[in-house]
Each structure stands twice: as structure tokens, then as C-alpha cells.
Symmetry: C2
Subunit: 102 residues, 2 copies
């Protein structure tokens, strides 16, 4: 369970790290859709329901790379809080996850 959680955050934060300053309509749609799919078919049912609730209250902000990264960091912190884990300072999110050069 923890392993899949870490794997999913790694994918999402890396994806956000390369999300462009000015995303196209398709890129904005894809980011929203990916999050939306995960609220339903994420492989831990309890986690999926909790994630769905968070996303319903605070929908993905996909207007720009920095905005998407900040939104994702805040959602991650809500999950961290629920799990009793330390929170991450979202001012540092831009330096924590680097875009892949490929």
C-alpha cells in the first residue's frame, strides 16, 4: 500500500515538474483526466475514496506548471496530515522535483 502510494506520488510530482508554463488545452485536459481516473481506479479503494473527496473539495488547478505543482503539493500534504506524516513546505516544491530531460 505504502509502496504504491510512493510510486504514484513520484509519477504525479515528476509529471507536474514538466507540466509547461503555458499548457495547451489538451495538456490541461489530460492532467485533470489523469487525476480524475485515479480518484476512481486507484488500486487502494480507501485511498481512492479519500483522494476523491480531497479532489472534489479542491479540484486540480491546471492553468500553469507552477499552479499545478502547488495544487499537487497541497493535496499531498492533506494526505500526509491524515497519515500523520510530516508536511512538505510547498514553497520548495519547484526544487524538490526536477523535470526529466527526455
Amino acid at each position: 500500500k505504502a509502496e504504491v502510494g510512493r510510486a504514484t506520488w513520484t509519477l504525479l510530482h515528476t509529471l507536474a515538474a514538466q507540466f509547461p508554463e503555458r499548457p495547451t488545452r489538451q495538456q490541461r485536459r489530460d492532467a485533470r483526466t489523469l487525476v480524475d481516473c485515479l480518484t476512481r481506479i486507484y488500486p487502494c479503494g480507501d485511498c481512492a475514496r479519500h483522494f476523491a473527496e480531497l479532489v472534489r473539495r479542491d479540484p486540480p488547478v491546471v492553468s500553469s506548471g507552477p499552479a499545478f505543482r502547488r495544487w499537487l503539493c497541497q493535496i499531498h500534504n492533506r494526505v500526509n496530515a491524515r497519515l500523520g506524516k510530516p508536511l512538505f513546505n510547498c514553497d520548495l516544491v519547484e526544487s524538490r522535483w526536477a523535470p526529466l530531460g527526455c
Copy 2:
């Protein structure tokens, strides 16, 4: 790059492990859509293009859990082959990835 690759396969195989015998229309659509989004916004551009090509030639089979798991194993092996990695025996895929009990 390798870390995000591993993370994404972990998510996809675990997701496939709990994909039901008889998926609903929504579940089939979500599985297809998730794969489709990744062909475009996967954070390594080269990998995304290669993955898109594989998926175009061999679209996701989402009719049942076992069919989806076999499809995913075969696609993963095409990526393994390209990267010079050992292939996985897809007859064993059902025992490699366990559904999360949550």
C-alpha cells in the same frame, strides 16, 4: 528516468491486479483513459512517444482483469526488450502483483 519508470509500472500493475473480472463500463473507460493520458503527458517525452506507438499498435484490452493484466505484461515486455532488460514470463503475472486489500 528509471525511477519514474519503475514507479509508473508499480502503479499500473497494482491497478491491473485489482481490475475486476467483470469491469463496469466506467472501469473499462477509466483504464483506457489512464493509459491514453500517459501516452501524452508521461514525464519522459521520448518514453511517452515510444509508449504511444506501442499502444497504438496494440490498444489496451480492458474486457476483464486477466485480459488487462496480460496486455499490460506484454506491453511492459516490449519496453523491456527495447531497454535490453530481461523479459517477464506473462504466465506468472497473476502471482507477481497482488491486489491491495484496501
